[in-house]
């Protein structure tokens, strides 16, 4: 497997995640799309880390995990609050602010 394979895989995953974010309407699923994007980035980072032979990429991947976790916490808190209020996690139902 060459570098390109990993890059392509990461890009595909990233694209899937981004598509999920853009197309799906359920907040949780949108959020999972974001997580997928983050993880594809991790793959990329680790690949490059190996390619360049230094560890900065892996360290960053570590931090990405941390941040993703923190994001999950905050995101869940927000989504659950909305969910409890509206009994729906659909982004489409969240439209009070549409101008």
């Amino acid at each position: 497997m060459s570098l390109t394979h990993y890059l392509v895989l990461a890009a595909i995953l990233f694209a899937i995640g981004a598509t999920t974010v853009l197309l799906r309407r359920n907040a949780i699923i949108v959020f999972m799309g974001v997580e997928l994007m983050l993880n594809s980035t991790n793959l990329l980072l680790v690949t490059f880390s190996r390619f360049h032979g230094n560890l900065s990429g892996q360290v960053l991947a570590f931090f990405v995990m941390v941040v993703a976790a923190a994001e999950v916490v905050v995101g869940l808190a927000i989504i659950v609050t909305i969910f409890r209020t509206r009994r729906s996690a659909s982004v489409d139902d969240v439209n009070l602010l549409k101008s």
């Binding site: 890059l7 990461a10 990233f14 995640g17 981004a18 974010v21 907040a27 949108v30 959020f31 799309g33 974001v34 994007m37 983050l38 594809s40 980035t41 990329l44 980072l45 690949t47 490059f48 390619f51 360049h52 230094n54 900065s56 990429g57 360290v59 960053l60 931090f63 990405v64 941040v67 923190a70 994001e71 905050v74 995101g75 808190a77 927000i78 989504i79 609050t81 909305i82 409890r84 209020t85 509206r86 982004v91 969240v94 009070l96 602010l97 101008s99």
Partner: protein, 569 residues
């Protein structure tokens, strides 16, 4: 034993950030251990003290940096140089002012935040929490965490730290947005939108970071800058990576095409948070952008120029045009903030030292004005009837129509708001003008006179909607019938119980004598002004003074900034 060498840490330059973050951590402990009744006082003291401490620390570092030009700390993850200090001081100052607005309590001892943000709006539990006078004091540590992140953000010279700082500043903001006491649904919605979009964009930005790392093999700006000088066949990674990274930063500053969240979030978030966010986030993000553009990507300035130009022009134009049709004060200011982002971008395009000074000054001027303006908005309330038909103060009156005639009933407030609007519009003798002037000068000097021209035209158009508010406040009669207090959402805001009479504080005195025509006052006007405990008033006054002083005698500040406005690589 391996070759691990413990890095030398220069603690001194870190003090401003450390003070704030430490206070934030302490704030969490305060939440845990201090009893309800005293929590607010303790938190407030802690927050104010730490922010003031950060300011002092910056002041203490100043002369050293002026001499040496700054230092690397943490092995080059951060750099504390002149721009860093200026931005940190700006952020700390604005956060300090925002804290005052955060803390202010209005009729019935209510602040701007939900008594229990986790409660379902309209539920019994919420009602109980409200009646018991519960107060969300978590906002102070959140504010401090966000501030800490913001202070780190412009100091980063390392993509890792950049990303971490970005999240540290963003996550508390997402939460703060959802804590509005009134219009809970709107507030929660804003929070969710901000969060989802923010997370999406940070993922995009992270991908960009990964690509940049892939291109250069390092996360340090300086290394990347070196790598851009020597082609290595991976230029695709570089270009795409840089674009994605910039996309993230553009999102934070609210530049077109990543601006969609701004109006919604600004409108939905509790007004004190909006002010804080609008001012401080922008300062921090522009600081980071400055460093990225100047420190990391000068090698590809040629390619970047196209992007920056396009974004700057689009931002100015779209922000201005969209603001023209807004009917909500907060939305209007949101779009205006987009336009302002465009103006600052013109300064960044200049790519020289004058540009740095100009941008730094502009951010300070814009921040002070913004915090003040949103502080004022927090004071203008709807008048309605609470339980038992007792007149009570409801949520903020943000619809423009509700501001009609405010100049007649509350002249001092209206004049102050006018001052802020004029500063936004860039009328001479206000801070906004000097900022705009400096930025445009830098842009013209940097060869981007076309940008300056677009900026000037946009300013002219922008003046229209600022003037519209002034017209509304001063030249329009007070509406006679109370505007219905509905939020337009079908969800009535939690009615305010308690028979606390409307407080006419700082402006009451003038208000009583300012009416020229004897208005028939059988029905109270739908819009009123509350004074709260005076904290907001203090903050607004400070902002107004800053706006005037920076407009009339900007010299000391400009000189001070110019004396240190050199970015270390």
């Amino acid at each position: 034993m391996s070759g691990f060498i413990a890095p030398e840490i220069a603690w001194g330059p870190l003090v401003p950030v450390l003070v704030v973050l430490l206070a934030a951590v302490l704030g969490v402990l305060v939440e845990a251990f201090v009893p309800d009744a005293r929590r607010r006082a303790v938190q407030l003291t802690l927050t104010l003290a730490s922010l003031a401490g950060a300011l002092l620390a910056v002041a203490a570092l100043w002369s050293g940096v002026e001499e040496t030009g700054g230092t690397d700390v943490l092995g080059g993850s951060l750099v504390v140089d002149g721009p860093t200090l200026v931005l940190q001081a700006t952020i700390a100052l604005l956060a300090l002012l925002s804290t005052l607005i955060f803390a202010d309590r209005f009729a019935g001892g209510e602040d701007a935040f939900a008594p229990s943000a986790a409660a379902v709006p309209g539920s019994d539990y919420e009602e109980i929490a409200r009646r018991k006078g519960l107060r969300q004091t978590e906002v102070y540590p959140l504010l401090l965490f966000a501030t800490g992140g913001m202070m780190l953000f412009p100091a980063t010279t390392d993509l890792l730290t950049l990303f971490v700082a970005l999240e540290v500043l963003s996550l508390p903001l997402y939460l703060l947005c959802g804590m509005g006491r009134r219009r809970r649904l709107l507030s929660q919605e804003a929070s969710m939108k901000y969060f989802l979009l923010g997370a999406f964009v940070s993922a995009i930005m992270l991908f960009g970071i990964a690509l940049l790392y892939g291109y250069s093999g390092s996360l340090r700006y300086a290394d990347i800058a070196v790598a851009t000088a020597t082609p290595n066949g991976l230029e695709g990674l570089l270009v795409v990576g840089a674009l994605l990274l910039l996309a993230g930063l553009f999102f934070k500053i609210g530049a077109v095409p990543f601006h969609m969240w701004t109006p919604d979030v600004y409108q939905g978030a509790p007004t004190p948070v909006t002010g804080f966010m609008a001012a401080c986030t922008k300062v921090a993000a522009f600081g980071a952008l400055l460093r990225v553009v100047y420190g990391m990507l000068p090698g590809m300035a040629w390619d970047l120029d196209v992007v920056l130009w396009t974004v700057a022009i689009l931002t100015m134009v779209v922000g201005t045009v969209a603001a023209l049709v807004q009917t909500d004060v907060k939305r209007l200011l949101a779009y205006s903030s987009i336009a302002h982002a465009g103006f600052v971008l013109t300064g960044i395009v200049a790519l020289d030292d004058a540009g740095i000074t100009a941008v730094l000054f502009y951010l300070l001027a814009y921040g002070a004005t913004t915090v003040g303006a949103f502080g004022l908005i927090a004071l203008v309330r709807e008048q309605g009837t609470g339980d038992d038909d007792v007149p009570a103060v409801l949520g903020e009156a943000t619809r423009l129509s509700q501001w009609a005639g405010l100049g007649r009933t509350h002249p001092v407030l209206a004049v102050t708001f006018t001052l802020f609007l004029l500063s936004f519009a860039g009328i001479p003798l206000t801070a906004g003008f000097v900022g705009k002037f400096a930025v445009f000068t830098a842009a013209v000097e940097g060869g981007a006179w076309q940008l300056a021209l677009v900026g000037v035209l946009a300013s002219a158009a922008a003046a229209f909607f600022y003037v519209r508010i002034i017209v509304l406040m001063f030249f329009t009669e007070v509406p006679e019938a109370p505007v219905t207090a509905g939020t337009g959402t079908g969800v009535a805001p939690a009615a305010v119980a308690g028979s606390t009479p409307v407080v006419h504080g700082a402006t009451g005195q003038q208000a009583s004598v300012a009416t020229a025509e004897p208005v028939t006052t059988e029905r109270a006007p739908a819009t009123t002004v509350v004074a709260g405990e005076g904290l907001t008033v203090v903050a607004v006054v400070v902002c107004a003074v800053l706006t005037v002083v920076l407009g009339v005698a900007p010299s000391p500040v400009l000189d001070a900034i110019a004396s240190v406005a050199v970015l270390l690589p």
